[in-house]
Symmetry: C2
Subunit: 215 residues, 2 copies
DNA sequence: CTTAATAGGTAGCTGAACTATCCATAATAG
DNA sequence: CTATTATGGATAGTTCAGCTACCTATTAAG
């Protein structure tokens, strides 16, 4: 009867069953410091609760959905444990979601700056996100993809709408812990949503394009 | 003097130097069918040209920037070689960029349909992009991230702007080959650009949020 | 003619993410 | 109370992707 879903305390077998992860995998996450240890009841016994289940689902979202390596997952869960503010947590997730790269391309930086100051953005030029944007502009320049660079303002405007909506969607849940959880999971799950929606929009407009060419 | 950049014919050493890839790596790509063989001049000699260099840069963009496994890279370069139309090439890249997942979630599908039909989109429900969108909505639902789902229309609208701009940016280059190249590289490089811009927008609005809380 | 480069092939390496096995102890079913 | 099963902890092994090293016969270059 200890296998019922009513009480939050459970042992390894039930944690494994409910998280749909193998016992060895959970042990591995414990060893790697991704999953917090259970409450010890004996020298070789421990009980786990709802928080452990939620942590495993967060790890799952960060690995399978966001495709993060376990080292970055550790950075994110450490920040979540550290009880930072919502905005601080969002910053940590931003840094984890971006593949670090140095960008010393002044030409690309100038192109980007013109576009973002035109919209009055204030953002840290030392942030990984800024460096990633410069890198992207530099690569587009290197590949001579001027049609995209010419439309940079349109992308900046769309990005503003998305970013505003993201911040707007920060939950007004009771506990800080729940809001942090919402920010982190939201950041991770919103990405594939928007990406898929953009592809669907491309499909929609591509149909128009094909039809108009056929006629 | 055969090492000059003027003539397009070159041998392995120069291809390696100009692509900044090791000779063994290029040989590996040849073996894996990612890079087309050079023009043979003897039983153990071949010359490579500009097209091989471009192919290596495309492979680089698909692996380092898009993070695609070599199997998907092969699918994309095969499609490029197959001389499909711009829109067909875009479809292949879409499929390669999406991590396949089945989605039989009717509730999530309904939520998504309401949002996209509201904007009058026509898109194939059998496409990987549609399944990916359903999956994203299903995960957001499972994690109770209602603040994001409540703002689905805003994300759809932003996605529409991005998708329209993407199609609009399809180059009017002379040769079909160049336009295909533009579509494929554009699809791959526009993603990190938009993602980075969204993060910068988040930073901008987060500053506002922090300031208003401090006051 | 000597030295370096090349195509092609096989085998080995590296890192990430598990997975298998073992052991001593503890829970549990009969 | 005893036989079976589960558990925490530790160590070693597995799998896969993406290279990397080495080998051999041939060819190019000086």
């Amino acid at each position: 009867m200890s296998e019922s879903a009513e009480k939050s305390g459970m042992r390894m077998a039930e944690l494994s069953r409910r998280s749909e992860l193998s016992v060895p995998t959970i042990k591995y996450y414990l060893r790697e410091g991704l999953l917090q240890p259970g409450r010890r009841t004996s020298v070789n016994q421990a009980v786990y609760d709802r928080t452990h289940l939620e942590r495993l689902r967060l790890i799952g979202a960060l690995t399978s959905v966001a495709g993060l390596p376990l080292a970055k997952v550790r950075a994110v869960v450490d920040a979540v444990d550290g009880q930072a503010s919502e905005v601080e947590a969002m910053g940590v997730v931003q840094d984890a979601l971006i593949d670090e790269a140095e960008a010393d391309d002044t030409a690309a930086s100038a192109i980007l700056d013109r576009a973002i100051t035109a919209r009055g953005w204030h953002c840290a030029k030392s942030s990984p996100a800024y460096r990633a944007a410069v890198k992207a502009v530099a690569m587009l320049t290197a590949e001579n993809l001027t049609p995209i660079l010419d439309r940079l303002d349109a992308y900046v405007e769309a990005a503003e709408d998305v970013g505003r909506t993201d911040l707007d969607a920060i939950s007004d849940a009771d506990s800080l812990e729940e809001r942090i959880r919402g920010v982190v999971l939201g950041s991770v799950l919103r990405r594939p949503l928007l990406e898929a929606l953009v592809l669907l929009a491309q499909q929609h407009f591509a149909q128009d394009l094909t039809r108009s060419e056929e006629s």
